[in-house]
């Protein structure tokens, strides 16, 4: 399954990658934004809209009856981050989304060159002034993965119950929790949103490796009911790895 390889590869790259070498002088970054605008208008506008509000001519069809509508870049609310809940994403987070796409919702734009992807990232940041003023606060994944032993998986299963993931994701983690079935889960745009079936990784949006999973638990998916568990896990962060080991063990994938 090349997709898993790809995502894992990216995770490694992201960890090792420093901020790109652009943005030195004012001139360079202005050019970068201008070039980014051209790319945006050709590749992104159709969904994200001319003014970045997520109201392009194709946006409606992506999510007419339920989530997820193309992102509104003017409100600074992002799902796929390596930063604490409520914080803006760092550039690498945005770059990763453009490169990998978002399963189900947005195709990968790996067809753009790496330089073009950084340019379009620079451009979408201009839709929200917060990117100039705020400094995103990164989360720490706290160590490296814990081997997925039977004991670890057992601990993860207990945590799954303790932390009440089931109310949304269901007892069997099939995305059919009582709150979800009651139709009470909405995203920040008021669209009905369904919690993922955690027994099938193919539809996950924020990556499918154990590291991705732990990051999702710490950051939460802002703008959706999927909360950040950072404060709940404070003091015993290693539990996040056990929980992730359990969830991944449910997948029928190899």
């Amino acid at each position: 399954m090349n997709i898993f390889m790809k995502r894992f590869g990216w995770a490694l790259l992201m960890l090792g990658m420093a901020q790109p070498a652009f943005g030195g002088s004012e001139m360079t970054s202005l050019n970068m934004v201008e070039d980014g605008r051209t790319i945006y208008e050709r590749s992104c506008l159709i969904c994200h809209g001319a003014s970045g509000k997520g109201d392009g001519p194709a946006a409606f069809y992506n999510a007419a009856f339920s989530a997820s509508r193309a992102r509104d870049f003017t409100v600074g609310n992002y799902k796929f981050r390596s930063t604490v809940s409520g914080s803006l994403p760092v550039d690498q987070d945005l770059f990763r989304t453009v490169t990998d796409g978002i399963p189900g919702s947005m195709p990968s734009f790996s067809g753009l060159s790496i330089e073009q992807r950084w340019q379009v990232v620079a451009y979408i940041k201009t839709f929200y002034s917060g990117f100039q003023e705020e400094t995103p606060e990164s989360i720490s994944l706290n160590g490296s993965p814990i081997p997925s032993t039977a004991a670890s998986i057992q601990r993860g299963k207990a945590l799954f119950e303790e932390m009440d993931c089931a109310s949304c994701h269901g007892k069997q983690a099939r995305g059919d929790g009582s709150v979800a079935l009651a139709g009470e889960l909405k995203d920040s745009r008021g669209l009905l949103i369904s919690p993922n079936d955690l027994t099938n990784r193919t539809g996950w949006k924020n990556g499918t490796t154990v590291r991705d999973m732990v990051r999702t638990l710490f950051t939460g998916l802002d703008g959706t009911p999927m909360p950040s568990y950072e404060s709940q896990l404070a003091g015993h962060k290693e539990d996040a790895w056990h929980l992730a080991n359990y969830i991944l063990s449910l997948s029928h994938h190899e």
Binding site: M1, N2, I3, K6, I39, R42, S43, I46, C47, G49, A50, G54, D55, G56, P57, A58, A59, F60, Y61, N62, A63, A64, F65, S66, G101, P103, G104, S105, M106, P107, S108, F109, S110, G111, L112, G175, S194, D197, T199, N200, T202, G203, H252
Partner: protein
Amino acid sequence: MAYGERFFQPCLKTALALAFVLFSTSLAGCISEAEAIPAFARKYEVNCHVCHTRQPRLNPFGEQFLENGYQMPGTEDGGIVAKLKYGDLTLDQVSNYLGVLFATTGIEHTELKREIEGSGDQTELGSPTILRLFTAGTITNNVGFFVETTTIFGRSSELELGRAFVTLNNLGGMNWGHLRVGRFDPSAYFSMARGRPQFVPIGPKLAPPFGAFSTPTVNRWSLTQSAYASKFYGLFNRSRTAIQPYDSTLFNSPEEVGIDIHGRPFGDWFLYQVGVLNGGNERAGDSNNSKDWYVMTRFDYAQSHDFSANLSGFAYFGNHNAKVSTNADVSRSRYGVGARMRYKWLDIYGAYTIDRVTDLPSGMESTFDSTATGVTVEAHAMVTDRLLLGTRYDHLDAGGLLATRKSATFVGVQAKYYLRSNMAFTVRDDFNVRNVEGGTSAARNLRNRFSVDLSIVF
């Protein structure tokens, strides 16, 4: 790896076997997912609505993807899979390239007027069943391809090659010109693309004779888009078989051999297309001494998130692309306008065309009407997240031999219920608006047709 190699050999049995393997794997894959992931959607891991309003209709993003030769808009690369070498192909990756359409008629009831010998009301169960395989994608940067085969079980049951072409994208600069070479549907970028109706074309029922320059008896009129129909009575193709007035032809032919180029050099609001074809509905080769050519322009308005519209016009210049029964060549040309409007789940589109026959043999002018027109208007709307209601109006003002020509007007209504986004039941009824008019022509004989169909794409 073995799959990859075999896949590129034109071996029918393997193709069919592969289809069934895919059928089972894809279906198994789909059931546990929120949304189905057929064909391109599989490759890019997105759901069908990223490109379609409802399959086969495209939304504005799907149109841009198509225009860019199966590459993401604004890119020169097919993305993820394009970089693979054929030798590396696994079944998984083949399924990213191969799509399958399966459609079967559960019940079909046809009410005929019983004036033509051998006809009468008919109820049929379980036929015909259509299996279409198509493979498309990109080979490398700015090179795309599309190949399809169709098998109609219960009719010929043979695997027939349909469209097959290569695209060379972004010639001269991003979106300046995209070239297609091979056998394609010229009208793919037109406001009312021939091949993307919610009302699928219903084939005719014919009775002999089928010989050269003979016109078979049509028991059941074929329900196709009248705007795109041939419209003339008494015309024949180069192999001397009758071109029926309802056959889709010229700019709106399902497959013509030729070359064309389209692009948007001035931005999203304007598209041009110019092409040259063998013409004459020839499946392969070129027995035509001369070529047909066409030009199309399209204007797009797509600003808001729930409204978009476009308007297009074309002129198709035929050159000795048909025959009359004396074996003399005539030329057919077509001029047309089309429009489409999408507002939320409402999708309305239509086309009006004027066809002209020129170069008639002297003496025939008094018995042959050389002008004909056709109009088709289709509208549909999603009324819930699973139910699509639609209607279509077709009017054909026929031309050709004055003694036999008959105009035809049909109205269709249909309800399509989606079990999943790639699987739908359709209940459809088409009726003849000219029921009360007498006569035994095919345009009158079909009174009503009702059917329940199932279609799956994966």
